[in-house]
């Protein structure tokens, strides 16, 4: 089996994807022939896929597959050398504010004391506008977002005092307060306590039902299977992309991880 052959078959899956309810709408996220370099290394090599609004898309692949690079490109943090990205029909620059990124923890300056309330209010920064202070609508949006992730009681706590899972919930609350169309989560479920996992799952499903698009990278295949509608299998280029149940099969796993063991391990874990 060659990578090229598989890329072609994955393209077929893309064409036949859609859960029947997408009504041929314009995809909220369209990525075409994306090529991204990091220094001298070409990390993404002609990545093409699309995601519908009202869908949760899992992103899986081995370490170094380019998941974080893809996310950094979609959020405008890294420039693309070639290719095209459209978010709700607009370029990355024009769609700033409608995309939120739940980052990995190490990108945050934890020395800066920040309360939960202030942190979620950061999501309103763009709506509030330069030189202005939060108004009533902003405070209400923050309150709603905190209630949605079950963190209203902790609004006066410092973020640095929360558990990892609670911190992730606050990042999601910030995206809710921001009112995004596309939410990107990078390993957001890693090392997260059970309650937070449940709350995050609920919130992501609510966001999906409200028509948002969610991209979720995880190494936890059983979790991807449980939560996502579609799955993007990435290893420098797209190995497969389509409905999760059709994509998470031994053939694709073999191609993606050069091993079916990982897949079998998760399968047996589930049974």
């Amino acid at each position: 089996m060659t990578a090229k052959g598989d890329a072609n078959s994955s393209a077929d899956i893309v064409k036949t994807s859609g859960n029947g309810d997408s009504s041929a709408a314009e995809p909220s996220l369209l990525v075409e022939d994306l090529v991204v370099d990091r220094g001298e290394v070409q990390v993404l090599n002609g990545v093409t896929f699309s995601a519908q609004s009202g869908h949760i898309m899992g992103v899986i692949g081995p370490n170094g597959a380019g998941k974080s690079t893809l996310f950094n490109t979609l959020t405008g943090l890294l420039p693309a050398r070639e290719g095209r990205v459209l978010i709700c029909g607009k370029s990355i620059q024009d769609s700033q504010g409608s995309v939120a990124f739940v980052p990995q923890r190490q990108n945050i300056n934890w020395d800066l004391p920040m309360t939960v309330w202030d942190m979620v209010m950061l999501g309103r920064t763009r709506r509030i506008g330069w030189f202005r202070r939060p108004g009533r609508a902003d405070r209400e949006a923050v309150e709603d977002a905190l209630n949605q992730v079950w963190m209203w009681d902790r609004r006066n706590s410092l973020i640095s005092e929360l558990s990892g899972g609670q911190q992730q919930r606050i990042f999601i609350a910030r995206a809710l307060a921001q009112g995004v169309d596309v939410l990107i989560l990078d390993e957001a479920f890693r090392g997260v306590d059970f309650t937070s996992q449940e709350v995050m799952t609920l919130v992501l499903q609510e966001m999906r039902d409200a028509g948002k698009t969610i991209l979720l990278a995880s190494h936890n295949i059983s979790y991807i299977r449980k939560l996502t509608d579609e799955c993007l299998c990435l290893n420098r280029s797209v190995v497969a992309c389509g409905p999760t149940a059709e994509v998470l099969v031994p053939d694709v796993m073999e191609e993606l991880y050069r091993s079916v063991d990982i897949y079998r391990a998760y399968e047996s874990e589930q049974n």
Binding site: N109, P113, M114, W130, R174
Partner: protein, 273 residues
């Protein structure tokens, strides 16, 4: 009553003490406000280096006979922006390239000082501060610049906090994080130049980071820490000025020492609990 008026009021029958008090107050307020960012963003070395690097600008202004601010403020901003660029682009370690640049500029400044013979410029005053010697024009410039710095910090508060706490997140929602970083460095340069009058090049760090660091031990909220730091900064600066008047001590070191003592006391009390 007599004691109070002798100790607290008497010094201000002299015009130079009134001017010194105003500058000390402004420096005491302004330094820790910006210091809160310096402490949390780990810019302490940058602040120290920057204060040394403005020396050639100051001396050049002396040499052509204009107000030292006219040399130091543009020089400070230029060097701050250049070093911000070096930090972002450094092929070598950022510490190293910034260190080399600033040590070299300081050396240049000291060499230039030897050409100012005959002018009333003392290296000691520049290094350790001489707030008792500020002119009315210095007071006006300090007040105007301090007002501008505080206005920018107030107006861009939420943007600065966002970019400092979560630079990537701020970038994603479209904040110009690089521009904000450069603006913060430019403000840092201005504040440092103003503070040099009070505490000198060598001791600027004491006003910039010590009260701010103390405030983070006392309160755990960023805006409150800015105000608490300013309060401690004003106490240090004004009390240092009184100490220097009544006991004939150098004013800059007195202020710096008080800020350090306050920090030490807070640490000790926190440990004891």
């Amino acid at each position: 009553m007599d004691v109070i008026s002798d100790v607290l009021v008497a010094p201000f029958q002299y015009g130079f003490m009134v001017r010194a008090l105003i500058v000390s107050l402004l420096v005491g307020v302004m330094c820790p406000m910006l210091g809160a960012y310096v402490v949390t963003k780990g810019l302490g070395f940058m602040g120290d280096a920057l204060s040394h690097a403005v020396l050639p600008g100051m001396v050049a202004a002396f040499l052509i006979g204009v107000n030292p601010f006219l040399g130091a403020i543009p020089m400070g901003i230029a060097v701050a922006l250049l070093s911000g660029y070096l930090i972002k682009r450094a092929g070598v370690s950022a510490d190293t390239s910034v260190g080399i640049l600033f040590a070299g500029l300081f050396a240049l400044g000291v060499v230039m000082l030897s050409f100012t013979r005959g002018l009333r410029v003392s290296l000691e005053d520049i290094l350790l501060g001489q707030v008792l010697g500020v002119t009315t024009r210095d007071v006006v410039v300090t007040a105007v610049m301090a007002g501008a710095v505080l206005a920018v910090l107030y107006l861009l508060h939420k943007e600065f906090v966002f970019a400092s706490f979560d630079p990537a997140g701020a970038s994603v929602i479209g904040l110009p994080t690089q521009g904000l970083d450069y603006l913060l460095l430019a403000l840092l340069a201005v504040v440092i130049v103003l503070a040099i009058q009070a505490v000198g090049i060598v001791l600027v760090l004491a006003m910039l980071i010590t009260p701010a660091a103390t405030s983070f031990l006392l309160v755990r909220n960023f805006p409150k820490a800015m105000f608490t730091g300013s309060f401690l900064g004003v106490i240090s600066a004004v009390a240092g000025l009184y100490l220097s008047y009544h006991y004939n001590l150098p004013s800059g070191p007195s202020m710096a020492l008080l800020a350090t003592v306050i920090f030490a006391v807070v640490v000790a009390v926190k440990k004891a609990r």
